[in-house]
Symmetry: C2
DNA sequence: GTCTATAGCCGGATAGAC
DNA sequence: GTCTATCCGGCTATAGAC
């Protein structure tokens, strides 16, 4: 296998395992087993476990960027773009109920570990925040766009946490409906 | 030291370490070091690490119950009681920015570990949910009390996650103010 | 009830053959 | 670039002295 392909396979599998089992609980053996290589071969591609984490965070950053660009390119209005973000909760509901949000749970785990990569992980949230702020500005709310972006980001995070704790799909759908109503009420009443 | 005292000391320290460092990342040595006992002595009180987790979850359950009872006994109105809950975000802001919410982060970690105690941990959320639902009923919203309780619980969880990710105290205070305004708007307009 | 000593395992990481 | 073999350390857990 070429150099890049094995490396990519490692990062891809590590990404999934870090999400489903957590960074700390995932071992080199776990990743190597899924990729189909030996543990020794690992260190030809990554010197330490933290290096793998950096690569996984970079992968998630890039994937997020592409997703936001795609939503931007779909040609809808800002309201529809924001709803694309919110709809992730429904589209990924099975994984969210099982493992929570990939970004939120990683940030919380790295915060407890006081890990050097915690700020890079939070930057993924930053991508969403900035993109949402652009949408709120386009909706005609320039003054409070960043606050609204953080508010919506927090809202979706809360839904993910409780959905995972209670395994409650109806709750997800109800909250998404509430968010949609809140969004439609924003233009007419900017007090919330 | 008497049997109960050492056991209580272990649970108390484990509670803090599980919160600040995570369950998986906390070792027996960490706890023993803080308590001031040897690792060997540990197994006289707890057979496995999971047994300690059970005791920690039970401790948090009981502490939560006492806190909710105290808020109930303070003699305010339902609105004031709900604000006592919300105010936790401000009162514990330093810890929340450093380690997230103790309940939310534990639930997410145990979900990823597919741990047997994950449902018991979620029961702590259940205590808050049921108590909040009682308050919303007392506010005159019997039909949607449970939904409102879950909504507020999720909201506070989202604030905790983003506060930890961005270490943003102003964000916490802003969201608490928004929650307060939302609460005061509920009586007059039950559409949100 | 608390200690020391240690078993047994698995983690990350390395060396060197192919 | 991939492998096998191995080191070292920390982990949970146990045994047995005091």
């Amino acid at each position: 296998m070429s150099a890049g392909a094995t490396r990519d396979a490692i990062v891809k599998r590590a990404d999934a395992l870090f999400y489903e089992g957590g960074f700390g609980a995932t071992s080199f053996s776990d990743i190597a087993g899924l990729v189909g290589i030996s543990r020794g071969n690992f260190y030809h591609h990554f010197k330490t476990k933290d290096d793998i984490l950096d690569a996984v965070v970079a992968l998630r950053m890039e994937r997020t960027r592409r997703m936001l660009d795609a939503w931007e390119a779909e040609g809808g209005d800002p309201r529809q773009r924001i709803l694309s973000f919110v709809h992730m909760l429904v589209a990924n509901r099975a994984q969210i109920m099982a493992f929570g949000c990939p970004v939120g749970t990683l940030c919380c785990e790295l915060a407890k570990l006081d890990h050097a990569a915690q700020h890079k992980a939070a930057d993924i949230f930053g991508l969403f925040r900035d993109w949402l702020a652009v949408q709120f500005r386009a909706l005609g709310m320039p003054a409070r766009s960043e606050e609204l972006a953080l508010h919506l980001l927090a809202w979706s995070q809360g839904v993910a946490v409780l959905a995972a704790a209670f395994r409650d799909e109806a709750f997800i759908r109800r909250e998404v409906a509430t968010i949609t109503a809140w969004l439609d009420g924003l233009a007419s009443n900017q007090s919330d």
